[in-house]
């Protein structure tokens, strides 16, 4: 479909504003009048989408908060079984990826194609590193018998295995959902790299890079909260 669309960037003033038909470009789809209008609409659309994501994770945060307050002691014990250095390292990896993503958007604003590609590849690599470390942590849980769905589940030091199970249920559900968003994010970044190489973007039209960045940073923000909630609260001995 995109191949039918002309690559030229029509300046808004070239158009007779209000006319029903105009040459459709990536930067100016048929339904819009001006490129600025389209950019505003895309950005607003992304923010509204992120709000739906906030509410989506919000349901899990509600469950987490309830059981954290009901079963504080068991959950504190379970918290301590998580590997803090690895969690902190992973947080830093993700923060680096956000930085490179911000740099990629900046390069897009300036129209530096090579820099866009470089920073997006870095972002993707940091993202994959995060997922790799996360995967390592999860496999550790299997070895430590901390997987709630398995019959051999056992957390040392407590009789209340049901409450401990709940902790790890939320741990897996929330970090899993977050990781799923990371996987989608890597896919999006890959697509944007591909499109950048095909010269789809310019300083006048870099909206996809921009909103991919918004998504990426949002996923980062979710982790910024998951990290203290699972690894840090009541951590001290």
């Amino acid at each position: 479909m995109d191949s039918q669309i002309q690559q030229s960037h029509v300046h808004p003033s070239d158009l007779h504003q209000g006319e029903a038909h105009h040459l459709e470009t990536l930067a100016l789809r048929e339904q819009f009048d001006t490129e600025a209008q389209q950019k505003d609409a895309s950005t607003l659309g992304m923010w509204v989408f992120l709000i739906t994501e906030v509410m989506f994770f919000g349901g899990m945060f509600l469950g987490y908060t309830l059981y954290r307050s009901n079963y504080a002691d068991t959950w504190a014990l379970a918290s301590r079984s998580l590997n803090l250095p690895i969690g902190a390292t992973n947080t830093c990896v993700l923060l680096f990826s956000s930085f490179t993503m911000a740099m990629a958007v900046r390069a897009g604003q300036l129209g530096k194609k090579k820099a866009v590609i470089l920073f997006l590849i870095l972002t993707m690599l940091f993202g994959l590193a995060f997922l790799g470390i996360k995967g390592y942590e999860w496999t550790q849980k299997f070895e430590e018998h901390h997987v709630p769905a398995l019959a051999n589940f056992h957390l040392e030091g407590t009789q209340l295995q049901g409450q401990a199970k709940l902790f790890f249920s939320f741990y897996f559900a929330m970090t899993g959902l977050h990781a799923l968003h990371m996987v989608v994010g890597v896919g999006i970044v890959l697509f944007i790299i591909f499109q950048t190489m095909r010269n789809k973007y310019s300083p006048k039209y870099y909206t996809p890079i921009d909103i991919a960045g918004l998504y990426w940073h949002f996923v980062d923000v979710v982790w910024i909260f998951l990290f203290p909630l699972f690894y840090l609260i009541d951590r001290h001995p």
Binding site: A20, L44, M60, L166
Partner: protein
Amino acid sequence: MATAAVLERETYLNASYGLKSWLLTKDHKRIAILYFITISIFFAIGGTFAGLIRLELLTPQADLVSSETYNKLFTMHGVIMVFFFLIPSIPATLGNFFLPIMIGARDLAFPRINLLSWYLLILGGVLAIYAMVAGGVDTGWTFYTPYSTSYANTYVIATALGIFVAGFSSILTGLNFVVTVHRMRAPGMTWFRMPLFVWAHYATSLIQILGTPVLAVTLVLILCERTLHIGIFDPALGGDPILFQHMFWFYSHPAVYIMVLPGMGVISEIVSTYSRKPVYGYAFVAFSSLAIAVVGFLVWGHHLYVSGQSLYAGLVFSFLSYFVAIPSAVKVFNWTATLYKGSISYDTPMLYAFGFIGLFTVGGLTGLFVASLGLDVHVTDTYFVIAHFHYVMVGGTIMAYLGGVHYWWPKMTGRMYPEHFARLSAVVVFIGFNLTFFPQFILGYQGMPRRYHVYPPEYQVLHVLSTAGATVLAVGYIMPLIYLIWSLKYGPVAGKNPWGATGLEWSIPSPPPTHNFDRIPVVMHEAYDYSAVPREVEVG
């Protein structure tokens, strides 16, 4: 018989031909038509389940179906009607078609996302129908835990997945509408010049955006819990089933307003057009939509009065529930005030609108009964509740939907429907509806619990009345199906403004061209300014 004038002009219907041109369309009008066909099918399926339920309830014994089958019938009736008919009903069809036109836009902001949302509804619907064909689901449309997660032996997973996917369809529609209203208005179309239909859809979209994701995550947890038994909602493992109810109703109570708010928008348009007066207190009606959307999020706990929620929370939620009555009453009073000294014509859409105002008032006022903490303990889970929400959902939303379909039929198809049959159907629907559901108020007050297919013989008279009413109602629903399809070929050709209505949709030809407007209009008038509209009804 098409006239030459219709053939010459390019419309959204004849711009291109073939199945592919419909299945890959980005035109909001064509997508609306796809939705029309889809939800009509779902309505027929859901209606069939309702028919079987009413048939079984003719006698106090179980003659037609077993208790297991009956559980599946009312569950699937609820699932199909709520998630696959009522939620998409007005927004995805009339909203999709007219919201962009009403604000002077060529299309929604994201046409491809609009098409995607239709495919998501289809995918969700296929999953739900698969679950039904494979063996059904018997948890009730509310999926209460731990029954749905630990004990039900039916197709909970497929159904929940279907609703999950359909939920994204709803979210994307809402997102599209919000961005479109903010960013696509024509020059001069200020917020307070927008038709109230658009305001109602804007408020609806906010609920879809803020509520539906919570339903989605609730269903994800249901799926995890059911497949892995990790104890999130299972009291045996330390989980709290009430947590499920909080999460479910955080969406599902506001979802009631997703269903009824667009209907209120339709009624505002119809009441104004057929009394030829601007809606009384425009700004109040506009803001009451937003108020319903906001307050609707603060009252979900009134579904939990008898389920282990704290008494204190019950008091808070009961108190807050009364506040929903204020914006709802503002709307009803303002519609009524609009009629005052109006030049009223009793055309079909207006008959439906009258039906809506009356039935919604009954549904709304009985809502106050069930919102009050003490009284609800008596009527909870009885037919009183059933009757209450059917007065809002069926007497409200479906009346408005049918009214809107008739009102905009000439615009969408370019053909007039047969007025006499249509008026008759409106009356039949009204009578059938009341006969079906009014006896259920009495049944419920006398203690007939919901979800039972065997009942004491003393309830039989009222049940028979209700089933008779359902038959009349079915006739009332089948009539429009027949004459509307008939009118597509044989109806008189409609002019561009057969009702002498205001609004940008009546300033363009019927049916509209693909890009809606030859030139994007510049809006100079307030909404419902009849001074600029010729009175003559032009037909043919």
